[in-house]
């Protein structure tokens, strides 16, 4: 079969202020008609740069220095700019990661899709608009006629990404490049979008290059996979073959770092270190420094990509027998029947939305948290999960008394904290700390690590200056950072290291509770595994209690002992982690579990459920009765009329709020 696009030994360089980075160092790939090629790897491995090289849209200072990109009969590597313009958006379409920034906020979506058509086809405005309507209908945008004149901000994230796909498809490209098309979206929406790309590929006979860091996405949606590391393809084969029989240690390490494959009692496998700096790559095998199988030969000579059907670049490939070595067992999870440390009762938080006028009349109320109750016992990890906009972060802020609830109460170890003044809370705050999501925004860029870690001690007046110095040094040891880090600024660290600093700061006051708001969602799987392991180790050491907020149910299942599932401000299900994950009672929990892409092609293709359909309704006007009813496959009239009460589904405390639960409730005990 004649490939649609074939990369032959492609080299790309980017000139920096000091030196030259080589993000693509000899990549050879090909994609055939109607085929999806997945490119997977950690961030900084050259995946995106490979994709951008094909489009010749490299960042300033970047250019192709060798090799060729054969697209039909033309070589895109040497084509002139005018020729390139005729190809971009016409014969090759591209979908970028963030639908927020890839649409022009000042243009209606109809005009934006029509623009591509006007550029490449001899079409009148009316024809272009008609085509825009067709394509937007194709990508499943509901109510297209009305939406043509909408602006991007009037659409939800999932809708926007559909519009971006429509723009890429407007001219029926032969090749579609999707660069992390669903990374910014919720799992339920991710599933819808990936399915859409699959359907469109089959319908239009396109070749698709799917760039992603998520092995689950690759498993379910690509025919062949190329694993990239440090600017090179280290292994490539059909998807099934790669997942059954990974040969390169890097591929295997990526699999082992996934929390979904690991028994929650065992430690996650993490790849030590970081990908090499691409402006000064090591000689020999680039993975040698992080590889458990590396020998002196690996450091001296670089392995080439060899083998038929399933080529890989390694001197010491793994045979089938060598895989699946169990991860080391961690010590038994801490006692789960501790006393209640955190007690949340009927928590409500409404935000008033005011129209922007002189008088600022309140025009509505966003119900961010609506009647949420749960208990967190000392020593456990309470995982709070839900789509973005479900109110989980607001709950997190209420738990650490950063925000005051509209009604309801939060009591920490018997003390009511939600109504206390800031002054009264000052002393109490040392017992509960918040760990932030974005490791780039949570550390003051102008402060050295020393000052960052000393700040909480200084605020709470803990110890003398030399004592504080010693405490800071001890903190660094605990989170596994060298002492040299003290004198550095946050920007000198990688994302994972910054998150370690964030964790050290949260630990500085020796709190009993840490509320971690999406602490690993900005990190690569291998680094995510390091942070999760570290958090567990510290929990055992210091008897910490965690409230772990995340959108990723597989992370939550791994780390949490109790799971709470939130939907649109309501806690819909809560219970012991294994029970909630393996036998959910609420249809939403089940939909959320089904939407997680599994890193196993067989299981992923066998899943029948479509996850959760539709999108999260507005919290400004939440649906009556059960808030999930608009997206629920089981909904009936009663769901619209009555708010479902929390009912028990197991003796171990699994509870859910649903009129049509997936399993039978157990009778309520008296005075439970």
């Amino acid at each position: 079969m004649q490939p649609v696009v074939e990369l032959v030994d492609l080299h790309t360089e980017i000139a920096l202020r000091h030196g030259v980075a080589r993000p693509v160092g000899g990549v050879s790939l090909s994609v055939g008609k109607g085929e999806t090629l997945g490119i997977v790897g950690e961030s900084g491995c050259g995946k995106t740069m490979t994709a951008l090289s094909i489009m010749r849209l490299l960042p300033p200072g970047g250019h192709i220095t060798g090799g060729s990109i054969l697209f039909g009969d033309t070589d895109l590597a040497t084509l002139d700019e005018a020729g390139m313009r005729a190809i971009r958006g016409n014969r090759v379409g591209m979908i970028f990661q963030d639908p927020m920034t890839s649409l022009n906020p000042c243009m209606t979506i109809g005009d934006q899709v029509a623009e591509t058509v006007l550029l490449h086809r001899e079409a009148t405005r009316t024809q272009a608009r008609k085509r825009a309507e067709e394509v937007l209908d194709l990508v499943g945008l509901p109510d297209v006629k009305r939406r043509l004149d909408s602006y991007p901000h009037q659409l939800s994230g999932g809708m926007r990404q559909r519009v971006v796909i429509a723009m890429a498809l407007a001219c029926e490209p032969e090749l579609l490049i999707a660069d992390e098309p669903t990374t910014a979206l919720d799992v339920t929406i991710q599933k819808q979008i990936l399915r859409l790309i699959d359907d469109l590929r089959a319908q239009l006979g396109m070749a698709v290059i799917l760039v992603t860091h998520d092995l689950g996405v690759i498993a379910g949606h690509s025919d062949r996979v190329a694993v990239m590391y440090a600017g090179k393809v280290v292994e490539t084969s059909s998807t099934q073959e790669l997942f059954d029989n990974p040969r390169h240690p890097y591929t295997e390490a990526l699999f082992r770092a996934l929390p979904e494959n690991v028994d929650p009692d065992r430690e996650l496998y993490s790849i030590p270190g970081l990908p090499p700096d691409l402006s000064n790559p090591p000689s020999g095998c680039r993975f040698a420094a992080r590889c458990g199988y590396a020998t002196d030969g690996c450091r001296a000579e670089e392995p080439s990509l060899t083998g038929d059907g399933h080529p890989f670049a390694c001197f010491h490939p793994l045979g089938p027998a060598e895989q699946a070595t169990a991860n080391p067992r961690t010590e038994p999870a801490p006692a789960e029947n501790g006393s209640a440390l955190l007690d949340v009762r009927s928590l409500v938080r409404d935000f008033r939305v005011s129209s922007n006028g002189v008088l600022r009349r309140a025009s509505g109320t966003v119900s961010a948290v609506a009647d949420v109750s749960f208990t967190v016992r000392a020593g456990e990890t309470f995982g709070l999960v839900g789509e973005s906009g479900c109110g989980k972060s607001t709950v997190g802020r209420l738990l650490v008394a950063e925000d005051t609830p509209t009604s309801g109460s939060v009591s920490f170890d018997g003390t009511e904290i939600s109504t206390k003044s800031n002054r009264a809370l000052r002393e109490l705050r040392r017992d509960f700390q918040l760990m932030f999501q974005d490791p780039y925004a949570s550390l003051d860029p102008r402060m050295r690590v020393r000052s960052i870690l000393r700040e909480p001690l200084a605020i709470q007046r803990r110890g003398s200056a030399p004592e504080q110095e010693r405490a800071v040094a001890a903190l660094l040891d605990e989170v596994g950072l060298p002492r040299a880090a003290l004198e550095k600024y946050p920007h000198e660290f990688s994302g994972g290291q910054r998150q370690r600093i964030g964790l050290a700061r949260a630990l500085a006051l020796r709190p009993r509770l840490i509320v971690a708001d999406e602490p690993v969602s900005a990190l690569d799987v291998s680094v995510q595994a390091q942070i999760l392991n570290l958090m567990r180790a510290l929990q055992r050491e210091h008897d910490l209690t965690y409230v772990f907020i995340s959108h990723d149910l597989s992370v939550i299942r791994y780390i949490a002992t109790t799971i709470g599932v939130m939907y649109l401000g309501k806690l819909v299900e809560v219970g012991p982690a294994e029970q909630v994950y393996s036998a959910p009672a609420h249809p939403y929990t089940k939909g959320l579990i089904d939407a997680i892409p599994l890193a196993d092609p067989l299981r992923e293709h066998r899943k029948e459920s479509a996850g959760v359909r539709g999108e999260l309704p507005s919290a400004l006007t939440p649906p009556s009765g059960c808030r999930f009813r608009t997206r629920c496959p089981l909904a009936t009239d009663i769901c619209a009329e009555q708010v479902p009460p929390m009912r028990r589904f197991s003796e171990q405390g699994q509870r859910a709020a649903c009129h049509h639960p997936l399993k039978a409730p157990v009778p309520e005990r008296m005075a439970g």
Partner: protein, 298 residues
Amino acid sequence: MSAIPADDAAVPESRRARGSLWRMLSEFLENRLAAVGLGVVVLFVLFCYLGPLIYHTDQTHIELSEATLAPSLAHPLGTNEVGYDQLGRLMVGGQSSLEVGIAAALLATAFGTLWGAIAGYAGGFVDAAMMRVVDALLAVPALFLLLFLSSIARPNVGLLILVIALISWLGPARLVRGQALTLRTRDYVRSVRLMGGGPIRAVLRHIAPNAIGTVVVNATFQVADAILTVAALSFLGLGIPPPAANWGDMLSNGINYTYDGYWWLIYPPGLAIVLVVVAFNLIGDALRDSFDVRLRGR
């Protein structure tokens, strides 16, 4: 999870501190234009303060017999309309121009930064009230205010600094307030509150330092502006009264003689003002870069 061995924990505190300052300075000097700017300012400071110790002139007694002499060996830049030596006057005048300029800019920037940072961090009613004060002051024409103030008080260097600072802190206040509005939602500012820290710490330790990049550039413009404001005031006859001198005074006096061809009364002070103003702007640009720790060492 084992800790990576601490390799250089024994570096003495003083050496580390100097290391950082040195890095900042070398980053600053790496920028050629900034080095030129700094050089020009240093030269002018030496010229104005050390110059009079070497080149003695009489800047108090009028000598009408020597008025408006063209440059010669005795008077390298000639003399002005009342017989003062122009070169000597340039030195003395520079002193007050530089003093007023730098001091007024520092005062205005410091006060404006604090005002803006507090308003932006506090938000809500406090922000609205504080910023309406700024708006109200902006609505009063600066020149009118200056005329009014200098008519009720006899100007001297100290008063001039205060007055100029009073009209020029509004710019930095608005700039910093805008920055503070975005900074206060940053996680690291949020975290101060969660550690039990108060608003003073948040403003002084986190908001003001992070807003400094924009402010520093503005501050160098303020120096330039202040020198020009003194000149404008003097032009209206409301500057520091003679026999004290400043570059603005000298320029405005010189302009009266434009048609007489006395170029030495116009070009030297004019050039001095332009050079100092440009030099400060160059420094401001480079300072912004070297203040930004993220750009350092790249």
